[in-house]
C-alpha cells in the first residue's frame, strides 16, 4: 500500500485527534477530569508559614497517615550568624502540635514545610524494581499499592526524605498530592487547612492560575536544585541553608 500526499495530510489530523483522545483519558473515579489539561505543582511561601502544624494535622486526617509517620511535615531552622552552613533543625512530631517558642540567641529562624516534591525526573520512580512508583500524565508521582513489594529502595532513593514504609499496608507510602481531591476540582487538604495561604496548589498548565504571576514577580527556588530532580515544589523566600 502506498500513500500519496493527500492521504497523509488527511491522516495526520486524524492521528492528532486520536492521540489527544489517548492523552485526555480520565481516571474512572472522576468523570469530568482530564489529565492532559493539568500539570500539578505547589507553591510554598516560607515568608508566610507560621509553623502552626495545621497542614500536618489535615494531611493526617485526610489520608489516614499512621501515627508517627508524615506525608508532610514542618521543620524549624535556626541559622546562627557565624555558621550558615550548619543550621539547627528541629521538627517535634513533624510540627503537628506546633513548636516551642525557641531560643532568642541571634541568627535567623524560620519554618520550612516539606512534602513530596513530585519531581519530573524522580529518583524514587527510577529505582523501583517493579514499576510500582509512577508518574501520572498530570505530573503527580504515585505509588501503586498493589504492585509495591515493600523493598524500601525508593525510601532510600528520595533525596528529600518524603517516603516512609507504611506499617499496616507494608508498602512504601508518600504524599499523593491529594489525588482524590484534585481530580474532583478541590485543593489539597494541606492547602485547604493552611491559615495563612503559605501553601498553594498550582496548576502550571492553567494559564489563569495565580502561580504564573507569582513566579514572574518573585524569586522562587526548589530544594536541592543541583540534583536535577525536576522538583515542582516551589519555595518562595528559601534560605540557602535549607537542605
Amino acid at each position: 500500500m502506498t500513500l500519496n500526499r493527500r492521504q497523509i495530510l488527511l491522516l495526520l489530523p486524524a492521528a492528532a485527534i486520536a492521540w489527544d483522545y489517548v492523552l485526555a483519558d480520565n481516571p474512572n473515579g472522576s468523570p469530568n477530569y482530564k489529565m492532559s489539561e493539568h500539570w500539578w505543582g505547589m507553591l510554598i511561601d516560607i515568608t508566610k508559614c507560621i509553623g502552626c502544624g495545621s497542614c500536618v494535622r489535615a494531611c493526617e486526617m485526610e489520608n489516614d497517615v499512621p501515627e508517627g509517620y508524615f506525608r508532610t511535615w514542618i521543620e524549624r531552622y535556626h541559622v546562627s550568624d557565624w555558621h550558615i552552613e550548619t543550621p539547627e533543625v528541629d521538627s517535634p512530631n513533624g510540627g503537628k502540635e506546633g513548636f516551642l517558642p525557641g531560643k532568642a540567641e541571634g541568627g535567623k529562624n524560620f519554618f520550612v514545610p516539606k512534602m513530596c516534591n513530585h519531581c519530573v525526573d524522580s529518583p524514587c520512580s527510577q529505582v523501583c524494581p517493579v514499576g510500582a512508583t509512577f508518574h501520572t500524565p498530570d505530573g503527580v508521582v504515585l505509588v501503586d499499592y498493589d504492585y509495591c513489594l515493600g523493598c524500601r529502595y525508593c525510601i532510600q532513593a528520595c533525596p528529600y526524605g518524603c517516603r516512609f514504609f507504611h506499617p499496616k499496608k507494608h508498602t512504601a507510602d508518600k504524599c499523593t498530592l491529594c489525588y482524590h481531591r484534585i481530580t474532583k476540582g478541590m485543593t489539597t487538604a494541606c492547602c485547604e487547612a493552611c491559615p495563612t495561604g503559605a501553601r498553594q496548589l498550582a496548576d502550571l498548565k492553567n494559564p489563569n492560575d495565580p502561580i504564573h504571576s507569582f513566579l514572574k514577580t518573585h524569586s522562587v527556588q526548589v530544594l536541592k536544585p543541583h540534583l536535577a530532580t525536576g522538583s515542582k515544589l516551589f519555595y518562595n523566600g528559601l534560605d540557602g541553608s535549607v537542605r
Binding site: I50, T136, H180, M186, E192, P195, G197
Partner: protein, 154 residues
Amino acid sequence: MAEFKDSAHLIRLAGVFLLGLVLFLVLRAALIPRSFGRYGPFRGDALAEISARPVAFAGHEVCENCHPDEAALKASGAHKTVKCESCHGPLAKHADDPGTVQPVLPEVAKLCLRCHSKNIAKPAGFPQTEANGSKPCDTCHKPHSPGLKPEGKK
C-alpha cells in the same frame, strides 16, 4: 543447484518457536493487568483506586454556600485568608448530611494559640501573644473577625 532435502528439522524448529510465542502471549495476557499502559507504563486502575478515596475536608466554597453570614464576616476581618476547616476541622461528612452530622465547636483556648502563640521563627509581622490564661481569647476577640471593636461601639 543442489536441492535442500532435510527441511523437516526446520519446520520442527519453527513449531517450537511458535509454541514459545503462543505460551508467551498467553502468560502475558494472564499476568499483566488489563489496564496496564492505559495512561503510561503503569497499571491504569491504580489511578482510579487512589482517586476513589473519600474526601474529609469539604472545602471552604462548600461551607460558604450554607453559611454566607459567617463567610461575609470573616472576609471583612483579619482572618480572611483562614479557611473554615482550618479551625473547624474536616467537615465533608457534615456537608453531605447537615441534619445528622453536627460539627463540634472548637476549643477556643487551644485553637487561637495554635497560630498565635509566640515563636521566634514566625514571620515578624504576624500577631503573636504570650497568653496569660486569665480570660479566654473570645471574650474580646471574635474568631470570625478578631479585630477589637472601637471604643464606645460595644
